[in-house]
Symmetry: C2
């Protein structure tokens, strides 16, 4: 008998019928003798409906009041799911974030969980009840309602699993697990049975949207085994845990990519200490987030400095950089917003040489020109022209033996 925290997202609870299907799934686990805590999101569409109501009043609704408003979405779901469970003969009780003391800081609309009081939940579990908790919400020290930001229900589930030392935190979603890459790009993409927290973080930060990054960080920090699985199909999903011996065998877990990139270069900057900061500080002050950064020193005592930003920030970043060019006496500013980033991710690459060579060779064989390279301990990223995205991902997927031979 285990203690399991399950989280069902908006699509999984998008209608009364689906809520009843979730109840049946939960009952299945309960019938196997497990203690179950269920965390739910608002029914799909509900949060948008509420935001729209607020927008009719204020373009930027008062954050405190927006939280009071939005938190009703999950509250509706917990009540309906508890009714559905009771209908199936499962004693169940619903709780708002407030009621089970999910204490957060006071940053309305994107609060962080500080602490959870598990007393009430433990009591209900001891009485044999299923506990249904509203995701995405908490309360601050003064008792104000807070929300964790979109997707925060994943974080709620992991935080509850950590606080109650659950055996597993299961995130039910509309995909049946984490894949070696996006199956829409590579039909041979394979579901991974296991992946490490670090790999998952890299995959998530690279645009693989299965899980919220914060929830993975949280799960890693508190060592909560996370499992991603489908609300609509049977299956084992993908387990996200710490690295284990047997996992060493896999060199590469997956190939992530990100279409939302743009790169900017400032050429011929006099190479002096503090140049990087002089270039990037104005960018940061304009609230533009920088991703990859590369600096080459040329023979003539000047340096070229290249970085990537989100494609939406491209125009703004160009304007800032033109200003910087004047100030630093640089030669030229150039940019390209038709680029993408492709990354190999795998803890296995730590102890294996030659991964980068294989990667570059596979891309060269397809005539794909690499525009930037950046590496970390468990990831190699390249920037290539947008038009090569699919070709590049498929070539790498095949070169590293990730294709599902059964398809």
């Amino acid at each position: 008998m285990a203690l399991i925290v399950q989280k069902y997202g908006g699509t999984s609870v998008g209608s009364v019928e689906r809520i009843e299907a979730v109840a049946a799934k939960v009952k299945g686990w309960r019938d196997q003798g497990h203690d179950v805590i269920v965390v739910v999101s608002a029914m799909s569409g509900e949060t948008n409906r509420l935001v729209e109501l607020a927008r009719q009043i204020q373009d930027r609704p008062v954050p405190r009041e927006l939280d009071v408003l939005l938190s009703t979405g999950e509250q509706v779901t917990i009540a309906l799911l508890s009714m559905a469970l009771n209908k199936l003969g499962c004693a169940a009780r619903s709780y708002t974030g407030h009621q089970v003391h999910i204490r957060t800081d006071s940053t309305h609309n994107k609060a962080r969980i500080l602490d959870i009081d598990d007393k009430r939940i433990r009591h209900d579990l001891d009485q044999g009840r299923i506990v249904v908790v509203a995701g995405f919400q908490g309360m601050d020290e003064e008792g104000n309602i807070t929300t964790l930001g979109r997707g925060g229900s994943d974080t709620s589930a992991v935080a509850l699993a950590a606080a109650l030392k659950a055996d597993e935190c299961q995130i039910y979603t509309d995909v049946d697990g984490v894949y070696t890459t996006d199956p829409r790009v590579v039909p041979e993409a394979r579901r991974l049975e296991r992946i490490t927290f670090e790999e998952m973080l890299e995959m998530a930060s690279l645009g693989s949207k299965v899980l919220q990054i914060r929830s993975v960080e949280f799960a890693g920090k508190y060592n909560v085994p996370l499992r991603v699985l489908s609300s609509f199909e049977e299956g084992e999903g993908t387990l996200i845990t710490y690295e284990e011996e047997e996992m060493e065998e896999a060199l590469i877990s997956g190939i992530a990519f990100n279409r939302d990139e743009a790169k900017l270069t400032i050429v011929g900057v006099p190479d002096q200490p503090g140049v990087a900061s002089k270039i990037l500080s104005p960018i940061g002050k304009s609230n533009i987030e920088v991703d990859m950064i590369i600096q080459n020193v040329g023979a003539d005592g000047t340096t070229d400095f290249t970085f990537t930003v989100h494609r939406n920030d491209y125009g703004k970043a160009l304007a800032v950089l033109e200003q910087t060019k004047q100030e630093l006496g640089a030669r030229e500013v150039s940019g390209d917003n038709k680029i993408v980033k492709i990354s190999l991710v795998g803890v296995g690459m730590r102890s294996h040489a030659g991964i980068a060579g294989t990667m570059f060779e596979a891309l060269a064989n397809e005539g794909i020109n690499i525009r930037m390279i950046s590496t970390s301990e468990i990831k190699i990223s390249v920037v290539v022209d947008e038009k090569y995205l699919e070709l590049g991902v498929r070539a790498l997927h095949s070169a590293f033996g990730l294709d599902d031979k059964q398809k």
Copy 2:
């Protein structure tokens, strides 16, 4: 400068536009220097929408979970109204029943308020904020969400006014006050400037649906001056308070009536002690509420026993009474569900003789036959045939000088 509690019902907050109109109204009071606490209901239609969702799962939803569900309706309104107030430059904060500790008993779906902790609200008022509180809801001793039953927002407002010793509790609704009788029946009906709690209770219990009876009782008990006024029009409305000297002048405050009546008679019951109880106990056990009761003792040692019930319960009551007839050896059971009750209400009648005489004469002049009579200290009710309702009400309205001469 006064402390005012205002309550706006579902129709008054039925759309974003109406919520913004309420905000403007509230700001008007604030600008006059008053401290304002606003209690709101769910947007009209919202509670029904939520009940419908629940009904799709369970015919009789688990009461605890129904409260979790329904309480979201008011929570949406408090957030939107606070946003609208902030938009107008009025600092405002919204609170659920939970957050301001509106403590109730644990009778889910129709809980009773036990206590309110005014600390948080006082603090906000001291800071110059308008406080917006969700009506209709509270929490029990264990922190479970409770609701007060439909119309409970009036009770919330009065309870808050009592707890904070407010100078006035204003109930905004879709009528502009309490009338001498229903203006749809008597076009000359006049808005009352004042009425006593007792009179209001009689009017309300007789089908005049302006206020919830519980909220009037509550206001009377804690001596909270209540004012009924319109959300949509300007005006002073009607003030409901304790009797004052000047009020003695009005003999009759209003004429109430109730179309939902049916009467039943059991004839020729052996007149023994305990007969009334033997007749009424089975009725009560069938969950039928009895209104007027009359018993006449005949010359032959038997008695006739007549009472009225809600028209919907007529068939059920007849069946119960047939059974009782057998048991008591009574002669006959008869009934009539085409009757109505008309009542004169007024504290003034206490000290004036001849009111009943004037009443019966006015009805006789119109050829209206009185079928039953029942009196209390501030009320005289008669039962007449349904077809005489309008004629009777108009005759009495005119006979007691209630007509608005300006119309």
